[in-house]
């Protein structure tokens, strides 16, 4: 079982260096929020880029266990995290905020003025 798993991993490693993190999207009146699960990732290892509506988040896994630790069971992946999302809404790119706490990266994408719900008064 192990051998098969390792062989597959080796075969794949040439093409795949990333694992897609678990994420959730929520919204309120003014913003969209994306919560991305990045356990054990340091702040300086995360890069966030938004280019033409394509949001890319890459997180480098720097966690290393000491060499003399013998692996008894390993479930976590070795690959870095990468999440690519195509945004289909207009966001205010200059006001995007990111916060990393307790292994969760929260991105706040403020909605652009033109997509916010607007109340129209009747004269």
């Amino acid at each position: 079982m192990n051998t098969i798993g390792e062989t597959t991993a080796q075969m794949q490693s040439a093409q795949v260096q990333y694992v897609r993190p678990v994420y959730r999207v929520r919204e309120d009146k003014n913003s969209f929020f994306i919560d991305i699960e990045l356990p054990g990732i340091k702040r300086e290892c995360v890069s966030i880029a938004l280019n033409k509506g394509q949001l890319n988040v890459v997180a480098k896994r720097t966690h290393q266990v000491p060499e003399n630790w013998k692996k008894l069971r390993k479930e976590s992946a070795n690959h870095d995290y990468k999440l690519g999302l195509a945004l289909n809404v207009e966001v205010n790119e200059s006001k995007i905020a990111a916060n990393l706490a307790d292994g969760i990266l929260t991105l706040e994408l403020p909605k652009a003025e033109e997509v916010k719900p607007r109340r129209i008064d009747i004269n």
Binding site: Y18, R20, G40, G103, I104
Partner: protein, 140 residues
């Protein structure tokens, strides 16, 4: 030496398998997540086990979990991790419980176990007790 119980593969494992090895399926991710969202939050968290000469180490990934929500207990050589968390989403309040049990080897010193939660990763250090030399019993 038996350290852990055999666990049947769960839907969680399958999900992870997809995340790892099938990049072309990435675009199905959202659908996949939604489909298994409920399962995801009630199954076992990602756990690594290590040992060195002095200790056993259990590393559990618990993103978004606060220290207060973690319950660790050791009973009859079984280490049980429980997490009760409440996500503070305005749109969807998620109550979920994570739990995982690990059979701990006999030679663990139960009084000096250390646990630390940092950046969504729980690290439990289980010190090994000095091994008692095996006694040869003479048959008369």
């Amino acid at each position: 030496m038996k350290l852990i119980r055999y666990e049947y593969p769960t839907i969680n494992d399958i999900d992870r398998l997809f995340g790892h090895t099938l990049p072309t399926l990435n675009r199905l991710g959202t659908v996949w997540d939604r489909l298994f969202d409920n399962y995801y939050h009630s199954t076992a968290p990602v756990t690594d086990l290590y040992e060195d000469d002095a200790n056993y180490y259990v590393r559990v990934e618990l993103p978004g979990v606060k220290r207060e929500a973690v319950e660790l207990s050791l009973e009859n050589s079984v280490l049980t991790l429980g997490v009760k968390a409440q996500r503070t989403d305005e749109s969807q309040a998620l109550h979920y419980t994570v739990s995982r049990s690990i059979s701990v080897p006999e030679n663990v010193r139960q009084d000096t176990i250390l646990a630390k939660l940092e950046e969504g990763v729980l690290m439990v250090t289980l010190p090994k007790a000095a091994t008692t030399p095996s006694r040869v019993i003479e048959v008369k």
